[in-house]
């Protein structure tokens, strides 16, 4: 078994009216040596929507909060570096 595993899991379909919804998740598993510690990060990836007439589409589940947080932190770090560079010159 690998120490770091990234998998995509597909759940049971849910029938809602004319739509069949199939949930998908992305799982990151990290097992530390000796199998005495494990870290699991399970997050939604997408939902596959199937209509009664056979059409299939995939709707991605985006984590807007995480995108904003990382952008802000990256911006802060970049801003701090720019301030340092400007003061040097």
């Amino acid at each position: 078994m690998d120490a770091i595993q990234s998998e995509i899991h597909t759940g049971d379909p849910v029938q809602v009216g004319d739509y069949e919804i199939i949930p998908q998740t992305r799982v990151l598993k990290i097992q530390f040596p000796g199998n005495h510690a494990v870290l699991i990060w399970n997050r939604p990836k997408a939902v596959i929507v199937k209509t009664s007439d056979g059409q299939e589409s995939t709707l991605a589940v985006r984590d807007i909060t995480r995108v904003i947080i990382w952008s802000m932190l990256a911006g802060g770090l970049l801003g701090a570096m720019l301030i340092r560079l400007m003061h040097r010159n």
């Binding site: 849910v14 919804i21 598993k29 494990v38 997050r43 939604p44 984590d63 909060t65 932190l73």
Partner: protein, 145 residues
């Protein structure tokens, strides 16, 4: 009458228990953990989604020693074992899947508190750097001195 003996040491049973806990813990990788039960309201169905982050660790150990005190004919022996562990599960809503007569759409859940904290941290980086730069400039000795 049966003469059954439990050959498992306390350490082994402890390890088994930890292994069971670990197996239960690995179930956190299941899809049903991330997608909640559908909630029906009028003609709309809502499926909440969340990200789940969990960590678990444990350790066991044992040791033994033999005393060799003077005056004792036979050295006494002792041993012991112990273990411990801990874990944490964090969950955060990510989005909701909304199904109605108009179709299916995914609406994100925006956590204002976390964004505000990240914004303050980013601002802190920049303000801290500005203070550091300005204090260094003031600390420089002048040419006359």
């Amino acid at each position: 009458m049966t003469d059954e003996m439990d050959t498992n040491t306390p350490e082994d049973s402890g390890l088994d228990r930890f292994q069971d806990t670990m197996d239960e813990f690995l179930a956190a990788a299941d899809v049903r953990v991330v997608y909640g039960e559908p909630i029906e309201h009028d003609e709309t169905m809502i499926i909440p989604t969340a990200e789940v982050l969990c960590g678990l660790g444990f350790g066991v150990g044992r040791g033994g020693a033999t005393s060799s005190e003077h005056g004792q004919e036979k050295p006494s022996q002792g041993s012991g074992s112990g273990g411990g562990g801990g874990g944490r599960i964090l969950s955060r809503p990510v989005a909701v899947v909304i199904v109605n007569s108009e179709g299916v759409r995914v609406e994100p859940v925006v956590d204002i508190t976390k964004i505000a904290l990240a914004g303050l941290t980013a601002l802190g980086f920049m303000v801290g750097m500005m203070f550091r730069m300005s204090s260094r400039r003031h600390a420089l000795p002048s040419v006359n001195e």
